[in-house]
Amino acid sequence: MYHSNKIIPGLVIFFLAMTFPFWFNIGSEAYSTPELVLPEDHEHCVEAVEFMRAEHMTMLNEWRDAYVRDGYGEYQSMLTGEMYAMSLTKTCMNCHNNKGDFCDRCHDSVSVDPYCWDCHIEPEGVE
């Protein structure tokens, strides 16, 4: 092989750099899903747990457009068929009334920083 004295060390360096995250984290704790405090007096969410876990952000985006732009105020659950007001503070935060114990734990652990709370008011102090 031509230039093997350069290519082989180059490949070794490349391989080490590529796999750096893997061997750097050997021995450190595995990621664990944070424990969330679920509301006690409610049996189910607006939709199934799996759906909410994967889709809550998409759903909130759709809700905000439907509410603000198209004037729809009510959402019919696919899970139970019940009607819910499409409102972050009045529907979501009514049950999940502790942002720190529910929203923030996941968001912090995956380094997501939603800007909802720049405007919408946290349920702190809401009766």
Binding site: R69, Y75, Q76, D118, C119
Partner: protein, 254 residues
Amino acid sequence: MKSSRRKFIAMAGFAALGWSVCPSLTRAATEAGPKLYFKEEGSLEASQWAMAIDTKKLDRQIMNKCIEACHTLHNVPDIDSDQNIKWIWIEPFRNLFYDQSHPNLKNKANQPFLTLCNHCDNPPCVRVCPTRATFRRPDGIVLMDFHRCIGCRFCMAGCPYGSRSFNFYDPRIYLENLSHEYPTRSKGVVEKCEFCAHRLDKGQMPACVEASEGALLFGDLNDSNSDVRKALRERYSLVRKPKLGTGPKVYYLI
């Protein structure tokens, strides 16, 4: 199989057609599912909302009550500078109707009037907004979608009535008590009166109308039995800057 350029182009054409049709077909299939969004029960509806301000019934006390009701409900901060935020405010007659004034109206010229967004028929703010953050609902309310506002302030330049305010600060610094009915805004967005669209959707009248002790009338302009139309039939009325052709929907009963 022998292929030719002609055959290749034909196949490519069919493939492109397929790719262009298929996604829209799959979307059509999913959209045909159950409808999930509904209008709230008991919401007030109109083909064109309008307000009539009875200037004979207005006095300082009532005007301050209207402003108070609106600004506390919507978390509008009171900033003591030219960077203040206002949804509804007091302005003397000569400022509102300088083009419809004449020297013999001297006793009127300094009379204070309430003013707010005119919710125009042909709103210049909507036309100039590059992100469609401000838009006109089918019922005539010119609404802000704060989520989309990029703070370019074209709408402020477009509005001939000065009805829009820009948030130079985080409003929460200036608010002692937050109203949980309505969100605050973030720094860098434009805001204005929304005719309490969120209250109408719940079946309530706008906050200023409720606080006005009958000085503000609100209703459907296209309904000849509405309060607004009755008042407009009986009284002489003015709108601001009619020559601009924006079609203001706030009428001042003189």
